[in-house]
């Protein structure tokens, strides 16, 4: 058996978001369960069908166990793998392996956070290396700032180009009825926003919101019996080259190189085959790194690609919800990459619909470019 045998064997059959907003009346478990139930409704399945539970959130010690508890499920497969914001993207690969192996039939992957209402700031549970603790680096902002600084130095990427990532995000957000910041931005506004950790400014940085989401996966054969057109998982990959900023292998390239390569190999596809891309965008630099490391352009070429356009109407549409920068960002954004990729392939995106989207790629980053996970999806039929 090779990993290519995992390709197109599992489908995503339901997706949902829940609790996206600045305020909440729900606990994290309630939002995760709400999203899971809505995703199951979307699939035409019920809680009783679920035998694989995958969840992550910094709020609970055993996230998948907490979710199963909330829903009254005793699963055959359980997974609380935490690699930061990339976690749920990695969970797709884990669910594919479990379903293909026949260990479970219907998997739910879910996430939620109420950080906006609780701390008003990022809630992560991240630990701090002793060799970093005395120095006052903002986590994770200063790590990303140092990456941005180095990328600008090595490749000539400009502040204006990175600001255009935020501008494109705002253009997509203005077409997304769920977006919490739908107002369009200009490059001048981004560059006038206050510096937080040079060279990153406030508008280079994601929102702090509440929210959650879930997706439902099952075998290709089971998917054929359900009412909505399924989305097939063609390829998955996961990797990490470091945990702490101190030990980053590179300040300009990520383990997205490896996770992307694995996903493309499993799928038997390459970057030119992808119609729509969702790249975790907690910081503007992440979109540049994702485009390069996943092979959509050469290393150092993201600035030019962003100039050519990644917003509505562009040749390669990126982050069609408005992303973590303008749509929502409840601590980890991974689940929203997946939900949107599926919705685009099902033609459910209304004004922000990418015409004729048949293949999608979602890439998550976790921590400071530590966790990396890539998923390639295709519309069935």
């Amino acid at each position: 058996m090779s990993q290519r045998d995992l390709s197109a064997q599992v489908s995503i059959v339901g997706v949902a978001t829940a609790g996206i907003g600045w305020e909440t009346q729900q606990s994290v478990a309630e939002i995760m369960a709400d999203a899971a139930c809505k995703a199951l409704d979307d699939a035409g399945l019920g809680v009783r069908d679920v035998d694989g539970v995958f969840a992550v959130t910094p709020y609970y010690w055993m996230p998948s166990v907490a979710l199963a508890d909330q829903l009254g499920i005793q699963p055959k497969v359980t997974d609380s793998t935490n690699i930061g914001g990339a976690s749920v993207v990695a969970h797709v690969g884990h669910a594919v392996r479990a379903i293909v192996a026949g260990q479970c039939e219907v998997a739910v992957i879910a996430y939620a956070s109420t950080q906006r209402s609780d701390a008003g700031k990022l809630v992560t549970g991240a630990d701090i290396l002793p060799y970093e603790r005395p120095y006052g680096a903002l986590f994770p902002i200063s790590g990303y700032a140092m990456v941005t600084q180095r990328h600008m130095y090595e490749y000539g990427t400009t502040r204006e180009q990175l600001a255009k990532v935020a501008v494109a995000a705002s253009q997509w957000a203005s077409l997304n009825p769920e977006a919490l910041k739908p107002e369009p931005l200009t490059v001048a506004e981004v560059l006038a926003s206050p510096l937080v950790s040079d060279p990153l400014r406030k508008l280079d940085i994601c929102l702090v919101t509440n929210g959650g989401g879930a997706i439902v996966l099952t075998s290709r054969d089971r998917a054929k019996k359900l009412r909505k057109r399924a989305v097939s998982v063609l390829g998955t990959g996961e990797s990490h080259s470091h945990c702490y900023v101190t030990n980053m292998r590179s300040f300009t390239a990520t383990a997205g190189v490896e996770s992307g390569r694995a996903a493309f190999e499993m799928a038997g596809l390459g970057p030119p085959d992808i119609d729509v891309v969702q790249i975790y965008d907690a910081f503007t630099i992440m979109v540049a790194l994702g485009l390069e490391d996943l092979g959509f352009c050469e290393k150092g070429g993201a600035g030019a690609m962003i100039e050519a356009g990644i917003g509505p109407g562009s040749k390669l549409p990126v982050n069609t919800t408005g992303g973590g920068l303008r749509y929502c960002h409840p601590g980890m954004f991974g689940i929203f990459l997946l939900v949107e990729a599926v919705r685009q392939l099902r033609n459910e995106c209304g004004k922000r619909q990418v015409e004729n989207a048949r293949t999608a790629l979602a890439h998550g980053f976790g921590g400071v470019l530590a966790g990396n996970a890539t998923v390639i999806l295709a519309r069935d039929g």
Binding site: K121, P130, G136, Q149, Y153, D198, T246
Partner: protein, 141 residues
């Protein structure tokens, strides 16, 4: 009741890093080096992350390095670091071949450059612990 000024957060000085912090308290920078494969590595660990050997030791660092990248922090909620704003956090390539995080101090922030040469100094931080910081080579207050 008097208010004590906030102090710099201290590192956990136990375990594989104990020698590093002990030498830092004497004003000496030491760098882990594997005696099996001869490579230096960071951060201190009981086993070499390159070859896996437990034959790890230390070499004395010159204290000199080159700035690989940096950022200037402009906002902070931390009670100590708020008093230091704005301040520079940098990744420094020591001449011994490892890259470490530190602050660059006693150096005008507008003058910070990737590639600039820096040299170590040690700041007493309480509880007998000294923290390695860096300043522009040849500079200093």
């Amino acid at each position: 009741m008097s208010e004590r000024a906030p102090t710099r957060p201290l590192p956990d000085i136990r375990n594989a890093g104990a020698m590093f912090w002990s030498k830092a308290a004497e004003g000496v920078l030491v760098v882990p080096k594997c005696n099996a494969c001869s490579r230096t590595f960071w951060h201190p660990r009981p086993r070499c992350p390159h070859c896996g050997s437990e034959q790890v030791g230390w070499i004395r660092g010159s204290g000199a390095g080159t700035v690989h990248t940096f950022t200037v922090v402009r906002q902070s909620g931390d009670p100590y670091f708020k008093t230091k704003l704005p301040y520079a956090v940098a990744m420094i390539d020591l001449d011994e071949g490892v890259r470490i995080m530190s602050n660059i101090v006693d150096t005008p922030l507008e003058g910070l450059r990737i590639g600039m040469r820096v040299e170590v100094l040690f700041e007493a931080a309480g509880e007998g612990i000294a923290i390695p910081l860096f300043r522009a080579h040849g500079g200093g207050a």
